[in-house]
């Protein structure tokens, strides 16, 4: 049994119309502790920021240093340029590091080029108010002198021709003569993207109309879907406008740097290698959890709340190794006939307690409450879920509890488990209780060896990286 240290605070997050009023975090409850990711895997490099808005100097420095190597001669006085930001970057360590990289890109472009019309385009997921919320919270309106607009999948589209056929992007993303792909490398839904050209995914999601997003998710498999963002990136419409990419680099420890260049394929190779090493270990560590209750305790959609840098969806879908490309489906819409993979198949997840998170609002959790009992804390939050059209059946199966403590207690009792893991947006550590901390610590050395000796060579070979 480990000594119980106080749990660390997760990143602060913004209030949203899509979530409940902010509540006290679960890490303050008695019995909660933090397991350091660096203690589990000592080979991981430390993060360069805590994510706190007052601790971003190294993000600025890394952005400037990386951009110093980028040829910006293509940006002229006659050009206008859109810095394209993707919504999930603002859910990464509270969003401030990503926001700082974006603001620094603008400063550097202003300093190094004669281009003066530098716009920010905030690509959001689905809610029409998300962009305004992000704009206000991170101070973009002031930083960009009002040249900020949001865009989403339902906005007017533009047809572009690619080698695999015509597709539709969002017109507003490309309403300048040039654009900068300002991205983040959180592998997020590794069960969908399989870490196959993940750096390109925005071109078929954030910057794309809903029809293109649907084709990517529903009419291709996990693996073959990787052709779509690449075909879009490589098409003439994009290449004529593309200036360069700047990607906020992460590991489960947190933000580790910025990688900027015109060669997005080169960035992607570097990211893939790093992620297989780091997120690969964390993913397999999660697979060692054979029974647990998960708590949602953050300011994003439940699927996308982090614990130790991995999103909840990774735990939900940990019935397969997401990086093993021999598996045709981990969690996909297209299914192998006669062998469908239920999205919520992981039997280790014995219950989910929702302390605070955005409601579905476009994120379907439909099958989840069939397999994992859900406990929603408080009537206010229950009302949001009840009114969520994306998950019309969820509230019929979930239980409403009056406190997070009673929810955890009930979930552990029903699920016959004593292990609790909290998805509260944390990088660099995992908020959990003592039995879970003991399991993670005792399992990490074995996982470390298995990944290094067996899995990593296979994953790399499958991606042509050996």
């Amino acid at each position: 049994m480990s000594a119980l240290a106080h749990a660390l605070a997760p990143p602060a997050f913004m209030h949203s119309d899509y979530g409940p009023e902010l509540k006290p975090h679960v890490h303050t409850l008695p019995g909660m502790t933090s397991v350091g990711v660096g203690d589990l895997f000592p080979s991981f490099a430390p993060a360069i920021t805590s994510g706190d808005p007052g601790d971003l100097e190294r993000v600025r420095a890394e952005t400037r240093a990386s951009l110093a190597k980028v040829d910006m001669s293509g940006l002229t006085a006659d050009d206008s340029v859109n810095i394209l930001a993707s919504e999930h970057g603002f859910g990464l360590m509270g969003g401030w590091p990503y926001a700082e990289m974006i603001k620094t890109i603008r400063e550097v472009v202003l300093k190094r080029t004669p281009c003066r019309r530098i716009n920010l385009r905030l690509a959001i997921y689905r809610g029409f108010r998300e962009a305004d919320e992000v704009n206000a919270h991170f101070g973009f309106e002031e930083a960009f002198e009002g040249r900020v607009k949001g865009l989403g999948p339902f906005d007017p589209g533009v047809k572009v021709d690619t080698t695999i056929g015509p597709m539709y992007l969002v017109k507003r993303a490309f309403d300048a003569t040039k654009f900068i792909h300002a991205y983040y490398d959180d592998p997020r839904e590794m069960y969908f993207n399989r870490l196959l050209y993940k750096s390109f995914k925005s071109f078929c999601m954030s910057y794309a109309r809903f029809e293109t997003r649907s084709v990517y998710h529903s009419l291709f498999g996990n693996r073959s879907g990787s052709i779509i963002p690449r075909a879009l990136f490589d098409c003439a419409y994009i290449q004529q406008r593309y200036a360069f990419s700047s990607v906020l680099r992460t590991t489960p420890m947190g933000v580790i740097g910025v990688d900027a260049t015109q060669d997005l394929y080169a960035i992607d190779r570097r990211i893939t290698e790093s992620h297989l090493e780091t997120y690969g270990r964390m993913q397999r560590l999660f697979a060692e959890i054979k029974d647990c209750v998960a708590v949602w305790d953050g300011g994003r959609w439940g699927y996308y709340l982090h614990a130790g840098g991995l999103i909840f969806g990774t735990l939900l879908t940990n019935h397969h190794d997401a990086f093993d490309l021999d598996e045709p489906v981990v969690a996909g819409f297209m299914q192998v006939p006669g062998a469908p993979v239920n999205f919520s198949k992981n039997k280790a997840l014995r219950g989910i307690v929702v302390n605070q998170a955005w409601v579905g609002a476009g994120i379907p959790y439909v099958t989840m409450p069939f397999t994992s009992p859900m406990y929603i804390v408080g009537d206010e939050q229950a009302k949001l879920w009840r009114e969520d059209p994306t998950n019309p059946l969820l509230i019929d199966r979930a239980k409403v509890v009056d406190s997070v403590e009673s929810g955890i207690r009930a979930a552990c009792e029903k699920g016959q488990t004593d292990k609790v893991i909290v998805f509260d947006g944390s990088y660099g550590h995992i908020t959990c209780n003592a039995p879970m901390a003991d399991l993670l610590r005792s399992s990490a050395p074995k996982v470390d060896r298995e990944v290094a000796e067996t899995l990593l060579p296979k994953w790399k070979m499958q991606r042509g990286l050996v």
Partner: protein, 202 residues
């Protein structure tokens, strides 16, 4: 099948008639008359997108007195025609096309066989797009295209006719992206080799 618990409503006076609610409505439940939206309660599938989109913030969802069950049952459509349509589109009958309502491809196809002529009518008949409104669209459009529906996009930007699938990737594209697992996924998802490309993209 979708069980619709809510219906859209709005405050008439401050409405500017901007038409945004109409454009994002998936089931054509909203019609603009004299610059104001008229909401057909029987067609509203409760997605709430109009409420979220309204720039004046004067729309809301109200609970229905009686829930509306929206579905096309198998016996309502000739099953041999449903099977033929799915085969032509290259979509497995059991796939959940709408992952919010868990509406299978067979039900989407049945709604088309029964007479739905466009995306809005499919949505109104089955309740698909009552949730996220995103991921179900391309399979439904592909089934409509396979049925010979008019794929001309409606006025505005409600939807565009995109139906590209794994079965449509050309040999040239496969050669350009040899690591895209096209052949492997075709073999995995269609081991019997039943599916092929649509003859013509809309």
């Amino acid at each position: 099948m979708a069980v619709v618990k809510y219906v859209a409503d709005y405050e008439v006076e401050p409405c500017t008639g901007c038409n945004q609610c109409d454009i994002v409505c998936p089931s054509k439940a909203i019609t603009m008359v004299a610059g104001k939206p008229i909401i057909d309660d029987d067609l509203c599938i409760g997605c709430g997108r109009c409420v979220d989109r309204c720039p004046e913030d004067i729309m809301w969802m109200t609970q229905r007195t009686d829930q509306l069950t929206v579905t096309v049952r198998p016996e309502e459509a000739a099953q041999d025609k449903v099977a033929a349509l799915l085969l032509k589109a290259g979509i497995d009958a059991n796939v959940s096309v709408c992952v919010c309502t868990l509406t299978p491809a067979s039900e989407i196809a049945a709604s088309i066989v029964k007479g739905a002529r466009n995306l809005e009518e499919v949505s109104a008949a089955t309740g698909m797009r009552s949730g996220c409104g995103i991921y179900c669209v391309a399979p439904a459009l592909r089934l409509l295209q396979a049925a010979g529906a008019d794929m001309s996009p409606p006025k505005g930007f409600r939807w565009y006719p995109l139906t590209l699938s794994l079965w449509d990737i050309s040999d040239e594209a496969r050669a350009r992206y040899p690591d895209a697992f096209i052949d492997e996924d075709r073999a995995a998802f269609d081991p019997e080799g039943k599916f092929g490309p649509m003859k013509e993209q809309a």
